[in-house]
Amino acid sequence: MDDALYREEILEHYKRPHNFGPMETPDRESFDTNPLCGDELRVMLKVDDNDVVEEVRFEGHGCAISQASASMISDEIKGMKLDDLARLDRSAVLDLLGIDISATRMKCALLSLKVLKSAAIGTLADWEPDTVDAARPAGGAQL
């Protein structure tokens, strides 16, 4: 049995996350939790006069999937306009992770995207479609 879910790059991001830690006087900030497992994530952004992300930091605790996804996406959004950040969809994170995420772990993978989008729009963003019910079978099939 392979351990694709825990491929080396993901473990690397989990063990040594990028952009992890506090930020003083962020311009944008958001916090949310994954109710399924109690993961907590706060993201802080510094943006320039044109609403372009200059700096990003995140804090919190969670599983390897949620921490690695936060680390990976945080590298990607530097230099991105807040409007573009707010329009990202799940593929932005899932493509970075590059592994199959089961339905029950989808919220772990997408928490960072949700919190980043929340920071961008200034209010709490919804979960991506098909992550509301963690028990929904993989593939988006309806119960």
Binding site: D3, L5, Y6, L11, Y14, K15, C37, G38, E40, I65
Partner: protein
């Protein structure tokens, strides 16, 4: 010797015939023995009709079996059938007490005592009641060994404002078996009512609701080898008779006119609508299954498995085990964290070895905060658990450490 290898009790669970399945999540829900599946099918295939109204033979047959199921369930915990109310789950049983007993007995300035280790189902209803009537919650602290202090309970009870002490019999995270007889006696002496959540206790250790003496004792069928959709509330008759109905509608009435309704006798007064008939019959078979094994023997088996699990897990590098050190102070479950990996990652990797454990906050977020963890991994045991299952768990944890170990 407590930590010797031990085979499962001689039991037949069809699902455990699945190749390689190691089921260590009975505290979430139990698997179902063949006798329970057979009872469910037999009732639905041969005896099914609605209860309490039919006069044809099939309906009378269904009625008889439903009553017999309730009597078996009541006898299993030493309760009277009339004091045994069928709900949809333990959560609903607690809510019944919160809504029906609560507002008439808890008022502004009063207090309710809970432990820090309660399941959300035994927290949220009381929080809601407190905010409705202006009462306060008092939290019995759990110490490093997962134990509460009776001295602190006495302190809480001293000012006479406590109206309810609601405590789990066995913690679903720490495993701690609370001294419920002493707790109930102290509550009563101070003029407070008591409710014991026996969801993790009733299927696993001898429970006699009369000996415990609580005003209310709740548990659930699906953790006791029965089907989902059935919970139990055992209450003292005087209290139940004084309480107004909870849900209203069919079955719970004596007479209904255009102007008013009179209510049925106990236990039916609290059972509005068609009850879970087949489920009561099947849970009757489930408690019969436990009784035939012998609840003392079940407890001895699960205590031995727990002792073995504690000893085996202690040797895993970087592990922190929650709750009492001694198996005799615990129900059959062990929660733990590993330094190297988040509980969800642990459970995911174990799941690939078909080792089924729970990871998360276990519906005990206040306790998680107290323990200083976001989540734990929990292995829980049943009559079918063997020390081979524990060995599989420990072996699989080795794989977790191989993957995550150098963090």
């Amino acid at each position: 010797m407590a930590t010797a290898s031990q085979t499962a009790l001689a039991v037949d669970f069809p699902i455990l015939g699945q190749e390689g399945l190691v089921y260590l999540d009975s505290a979430a829900t139990s698997q179902k023995p063949r006798v329970v599946l057979d009872a469910l099918e037999d009732f639905l295939a041969h005896h099914n009709a609605n209860v309490h109204r039919g006069v044809y033979p099939l309906a009378i047959d269904a009625d008889t079996r439903f009553s017999a199921g309730r009597a078996q369930i009541a006898a299993f915990v030493g309760a009277e059938p009339a004091e045994t109310i069928i709900t949809k789950n333990a959560t609903e049983a607690i809510n019944l007490v919160r809504y029906s007993w609560g507002p008439g007995n808890v008022g502004a300035g009063d207090a309710i005592v809970l432990t820090e280790a309660e399941h959300h189902s035994n927290i949220v209803p009381w929080q809601q009641l407190c905010s409705q009537v202006g009462a306060e919650l008092r939290w019995l602290e759990v110490d490093d060994e997962g134990m509460i202090s009776l001295d602190q309970l006495d302190e809480f009870l001293a000012d006479g404002r406590v109206k309810m002490v609601a405590v789990t019999h066995c913690s679903n995270v720490l495993g701690t078996i609370n001294p419920v007889e002493e707790i109930v006696a102290r509550a009563r002496a101070a003029g407070a009512a008591s409710l014991i959540d026996g969801s993790q206790a009733a299927p696993h250790m001898p429970v006699n609701v009369n000996a415990i003496g609580a005003d209310f004792y709740v548990w659930t069928g699906h953790k006791a080898y029965g089907p989902t959709g059935i919970g139990l509330l055992h209450g003292r008759r005087e209290l139940l008779e004084a309480m107004p109905p909870f849900l209203t509608g069919g079955d719970m009435i004596k007479t209904v006119s255009f102007d008013e309704t009179t209510f049925n006798e106990l236990p039916f007064k609290f059972e509005a609508g068609t009850p879970p008939i087949a489920e009561v019959v099947a849970l009757g078979a489930a408690v019969e299954f436990i009784t035939e094994l012998g609840i003392e023997r079940v407890r001895a088996h699960e205590e031995a498995i727990t002792a073995y699990a504690l000893a085996s897990l202690k040797a895993v590098p970087g592990i922190t085990i929650q709750g009492p050190s001694l198996a005799e102070q615990r129900g059959g479950l062990v929660s733990f964290t590993l330094d190297c990996a988040h509980p969800h990652d642990v459970a995911e990797i174990l799941g690939r070895d078909q080792v089924c454990v729970r990871a998360g906050h276990h519906c005990t977020q206040p306790l998680m905060k107290k323990l200083g963890v976001g989540a734990t991994t929990r292995a829980s045991f049943a009559v079918h658990t063997s020390t081979d299952d524990i060995d599989a768990l420990v072996g699989s944890l080795g794989r977790v450490i191989d993957i995550f170990g150098d963090r």
